[in-house]
């Protein structure tokens, strides 16, 4: 096939698919054929291209022009004007100068998402052409000692991207000796407003598989599980294809790349339980049981799946591993902050101009993310607050916009950084209603195993409902905080320990709004 002079990448994530991405891609191919451009310009399907909420999105290379909201009716114009004559179709262009600038900046610090939006996620060849499996090949070829792999990851300073940032190398080094060990990739992404792991799974599944293989090599495990949310149909299909293709190519199996190292990966599909994002609940669930948390210690590194030593890492964490092995800890440390090297993937949503998926260096403050990448608050309105980290997250007001976000920052940032969800609220949004929604979520998702959480989540919703409808008494706000505090002190797992963060940050920052809501409807004597 002749060398193509250009590529049109069509995003085929869930959003784009439901806006008709497949039809647009097919129509593009036909139009190129018709215009005699088929040999010069290739249409490729790819994962997320960093645009959300804009229907079918395309990126045209080499120019890097991004289009959004493309329909079949627009295809002819794009082909004729842009691809044939070189004049981008301004009307569809995603556009403003700051956005393009942001795109350029953003691409420079893409580690995890380096290939997302550039390669066809269903193609092993394209993944390999972009460097997939080079790191594991290097380890196997040079017969690097597993201890050296752990040491390199430790030196890199990589910290877990699922929750509060436990050092990954240290976690690996805590894995107890044993004949049989497991690697589990936690892809049970349930925190509302978070879908970064889904987009990594759907955009570059081979990178995740390689990360798991390296973890397996380092700790001496030959079996890996990916626990994916049952609702993530597309992720499951793509990942399964990647596993099958890698198996056929000899990249997974009893002899990886003809070496004595064996590694197998299996997908486990969840069934709708937020609590299974907690690592011990997840393990219970793989064992076919109710997903209720275990008491820690012992930690999974000592007693995990089927009682064997098990490493549980988040998708984004594992996706960071291959480049660290390939390019070294020193390279990785060039990004981010001293205590939290590397980048962070965020989903920025809500009342912003450009919702979407971004990857920026650790330590980037919220204001930069909001203004430069999110394009500011939608419709020129004023910023009111951001909910960081989903339901188990923190409400940040205007004053918190300039705090560098990393794992060493103030607790309300550090504790919630992992999930990477940023939900922006404009001046018209109600914090009282937001908190109510969050508390309802916890009531629904409490697993019911321990009493403080089972009873506490119900009490929180009742109190919040009273405040919201103005039927409350004046000390209900204090009661809300004290119930959440009691839950934090006495619950078994992070679910019951979490509500205090949204409750406290919301009330501390917006107390007046809560009080006036009570007063507006009239307070019970």
């Amino acid at each position: 096939m002749p060398q193509a002079r250009g590529h049109v990448l069509v995003a085929v994530n869930e959003e784009a698919l439901l806006a008709g991405a497949r039809d647009v891609a097919a129509s593009l191919s036909r139009a190129l054929e018709r215009e005699g451009l088929a040999d010069e310009i290739r249409v490729m399907e790819t994962g997320d291209v960093g645009v959300a909420g804009r229907g079918v999105a395309l990126v045209v290379y080499p120019d890097g022009v991004r289009y959004g909201g493309v329909t079949i009716a627009d295809v002819d114009e794009i082909v004729r004007e842009h691809l044939l004559k070189g004049r981008p179709v301004e009307r569809l262009r995603l556009a403003s100068a700051p956005t393009q600038n942001a795109w350029a900046v953003q691409r420079q610090s893409r580690i995890v998402l380096a290939n997302c939006g550039k390669i066809d996620p269903d193609s092993l060849d394209e993944a390999i052409a972009s460097g997939a499996y080079e790191a594991i090949a290097k380890l196997l070829e040079s017969k690097t000692a597993p201890a050296d792999v752990i040491a390199e990851v430790k030196r890199s300073g990589l910290r877990g991207r699922g929750g509060a940032g436990f050092p990954t190398g240290l976690k690996w080094s805590f894995t107890a000796p044993g004949d049989e060990k497991f690697i589990i990739c936690n892809a049970d992404e349930g925190e509302p407003g978070t879908f970064k792991d889904r987009l990594i799974l759907e955009g570059d599944p081979h990178r995740l598989l390689e990360g798991m293989m390296i973890a397996g090599y380092a700790v001496g495990a030959s079996k890996g599980y990916v626990y994916v949310r049952g609702e993530y149909g597309l992720s499951i299909r793509r990942l399964q294809k990647a596993i099958d293709d890698a198996g056929e190519a000899g990249l997974l199996g009893d002899r990886v790349l003809d070496s004595p190292f064996a590694f197998h990966v299996e997908i486990k599909k969840g069934a709708g339980a937020y609590i299974c994002g907690e690592e011990t609940s997840l393990i219970e669930s793989i064992e076919g049981k109710r997903g209720t948390p275990r008491i820690k210690p012992p930690y999974p590194g000592a007693v995990g799946l089927w009682g064997k030593p098990t490493v549980v890492n988040n998708v984004e964490t594992l996706a960071n591993v291959p480049p660290i092995i390939l390019r070294g800890a020193a390279w990785f440390r060039r990004f981010g902050t001293q205590g939290s090297p590397g980048t962070k993937v965020y989903t920025i949503l809500g009342h912003v101009e450009n919702p979407g998926l971004i990857e920026v260096e650790m330590g980037t403050p919220l204001r930069t993310i909001l203004d430069e990448y999110g394009g500011g608050v939608r419709g020129g309105k004023r910023f009111k607050a951001a909910l960081l980290g989903g339901a188990a997250g923190a409400v940040i007001g205007e004053r918190g916009l300039d705090v560098p976000m990393d794992f060493d920052g103030p607790k309300e940032y550090a504790a919630v950084l992992g999930s990477g969800a940023i939900l922006v609220l404009d001046e018209d949004a109600s914090i009282v209603d937001l908190l109510h929604g969050i508390l309802r979520f916890f009531r629904h998702e409490s697993c019911g195993q321990c009493v403080p959480c089972r009873g506490g989540t119900v009490a929180l919703v009742e109190l919040s409902e009273r405040i919201r409808s103005g039927r409350g008494s004046s000390d209900d706000l204090e009661r809300l905080v004290s119930v959440a505090k009691a839950m934090q002190a006495s619950s078994l797992c992070p679910l019951g320990q979490s509500p205090i963060l949204p409750v406290k940050t919301a009330i501390d920052t917006f107390r007046a709004e809560f009080e006036s809501r009570q007063a507006a409807v009239g307070t019970r004597p």
Partner: protein, 153 residues
């Protein structure tokens, strides 16, 4: 049912997958007593243990549901842009509360936690299909569409 089960190793590890598949194979999207018993026998666990697992997860149902399951997302990003109003609309149009099934057995209305398509919030799923950027009109159209497809067989 036998054929379906044989694909899976006889271990508790297969239980969630087995339950998913048995439920999907049932036109009313639930786990029948027979299905639960067959699953228990296959994995070699007491029925009580299998029921205990099945009742924990929100994606499994122990009672018959509609031919179509409408699940609207109730997480904060969707709520922020009007999911509550749409839930009220769905409930009124279908004439059932959350968890209820329409009299003709066509629809069951459920809520779901985050579907991970917050960029097009508010969002819902009807069976395996995702719908985003929902408005009152779009919700009405989607329901009508499903009904039309049903009528066409």
């Amino acid at each position: 049912m036998k054929e379906l089960l044989e694909k899976y190793p006889r271990s508790m590890e297969s239980l969630l997958d087995i339950l998913h598949e048995l439920q999907d194979a049932q036109p009313r999207h639930y786990l029948t007593r027979d299905a639960l018993r067959a699953a228990a026998e296959h994995v070699g666990a007491p029925l009580s243990e299998v029921v205990s697992t099945a009742t924990f997860y929100s994606m499994y149902s122990m009672t018959p549901r509609g031919r179509h399951i409408v699940r609207i997302c109730e997480s904060p990003p969707c709520q922020l842009v009007g999911a509550d109003t749409l839930l009220g609309l769905l409930s009124a149009q279908l004439g059932v509360a959350v968890g209820g099934t329409t009299e003709d057995g066509a629809f069951t209305l459920e809520t779901t936690s985050c579907l991970g398509v917050c960029g097009v919030a508010p969002a819902m799923m009807v069976d395996a299909e995702l719908y985003g950027n929902l408005t009152e009109k779009r919700v009405t159209d989607v329901l009508a569409d499903v009904r039309r497809r049903d009528a066409a067989g």
